[in-house]
Symmetry: C2
Subunit: 328 residues, 2 copies
Amino acid sequence: MQNDKHSANIKDVAALAQVSTATVSRFLNGNLNRMSDATAERVRVAIDKLKYVPNSAARQMTTKSSKLIALIVANTDDYFSTELFKGVSSILESNGYIGTMLDSDSDLQREKNLLAAVNSHTFDGLILQPFSTISTIENIMRRSAPIVIVDRETPQSPWPQVVTNNFDAAREATAYFVKQGFSHFIVLTSDLSAATNRRERYRGILAAATNVDVLEVSEASYNHRDIHEKLIQLLTKTNERTVIFALKERWILEFVPNLVLQGYLDNVKATATGFADTAMSRRLEPKMKLISQNPFLLGASAAEVMVQALKDGGEQNDDVIVVPAKFK
Amino acid sequence: MQNDKHSANIKDVAALAQVSTATVSRFLNGNLNRMSDATAERVRVAIDKLKYVPNSAARQMTTKSSKLIALIVANTDDYFSTELFKGVSSILESNGYIGTMLDSDSDLQREKNLLAAVNSHTFDGLILQPFSTISTIENIMRRSAPIVIVDRETPQSPWPQVVTNNFDAAREATAYFVKQGFSHFIVLTSDLSAATNRRERYRGILAAATNVDVLEVSEASYNHRDIHEKLIQLLTKTNERTVIFALKERWILEFVPNLVLQGYLDNVKATATGFADTAMSRRLEPKMKLISQNPFLLGASAAEVMVQALKDGGEQNDDVIVVPAKFK
């Protein structure tokens, strides 16, 4: 610890403002709610007079803690991501941590860059909805900060995971529709090869149905009209009763309304279902049965696992916590 | 600079791995794309053997730069926020910075806490969609990091602002509908008093119409059915032709589909319009005319202003940059 030279420190500020160092600290941390305006003003003036600069980098070298947790999500355009973030933030906040969200934008190279940024900065921990393999993550994350995997079941993960029952939920929903007399399924999904949760959902559908088409939509760029027309082609190519099965809510919100308006989804010849993160899809067509996952709860659970790891000094196990989705 | 004692430094790692220090540095920063797997593995082994820890906090004390920019948004559940973030991230990324998003969740106290967290950490800059007043922000942000205000016109801001032409766009759209024979307007909005952009939009509507009802929806908690029924009451209370004017896209997505399905919005007796951030609203009912703002471009512009300020060593002006919304 050098620089205890002649530059002002927190005690100088407290003395000049005639308050305790704890009050100065509260001021610096923005906890102004239990402080009178007059007190805050005295502290502010003292800081200005003494040109006191709280050196957070220096503080971090001492405490080795920034209280910042990084959440890297696959695509902030999905309500899944934003609800997840809200769940993460809410638990972190009540434990004195701050959640910040980074967006890999469904791009593997970008995810690697973000991992490197998290690694080389002062984040206390990382919650990750990963595309990368375990070994890539291990290679980039050189620090000992705790990691929690969320949403994507990742075999051989050395870190805890918080996931949905993707396979079972998809199989259960498919079996329901088969029982209702639907035999043709159109799986509407982002690139299947890119993410384990999508593959698990697809496997669940295949476990209960045989006539299954797949329509992949590129997250980075797709033509709405093209996909719409391909869906109509697939819907009308057979006399079998058909289910459009969206593997994520965004594809329900994007493509189901037009199909309903144009009369393609009458719940008799054809219907739609999928994984939903909000109440929005349900309101599009109240008769639709959907698989409701709870991204807020997934995020909150991941944050709880993170907070516990931080309390335990970074000790982690490889538990898998399942937050079940509900078909209704 | 102390600790050049006996702990390994980057040169030791480079020597052991038989690569340049630049290669080690690239490895540490995760730039693995121009590096063979064998080289990366040698560096990894050398780092492990020497127990070399790149001390980012120490590095930050030297460079005073974390390359992280904080974006505080009002509510990540709005596509506005996520598109804004994507615009911010894209420009930051191409300039060697990383964008991280924090969510004030439309809560003033939470925004203050986030400002305090940004202030006391090593972010290089802050882009803010603010609820707080200028003086509150100034009181909390004690550091000299650049600030850019986005979306919310903030009079007397000492920092540059990137905003939409809220007043003009709302007035122009209202005048269009008045000309078409619509005379009754229902403004569907979050708490009007909380944000300047909402008030500007409301003022724009009042500048072109006289029979204006306001229906405020609480972002934190609202009953979908209640709002739906209040909308129907307001729609049917008069024989005048009515426009539901949503001040943000989320309220279009939430309430317009049901009203269309139930026949309330026939584009003759009644129609809907509003500020939209994505193509989604337009697809709900292709006949709707909407005010398309471009949150991606707003974010990209704000990030460009930020990058310029960082290049200029933190020098900032109070320019107001307007990214116009388009009524079509």
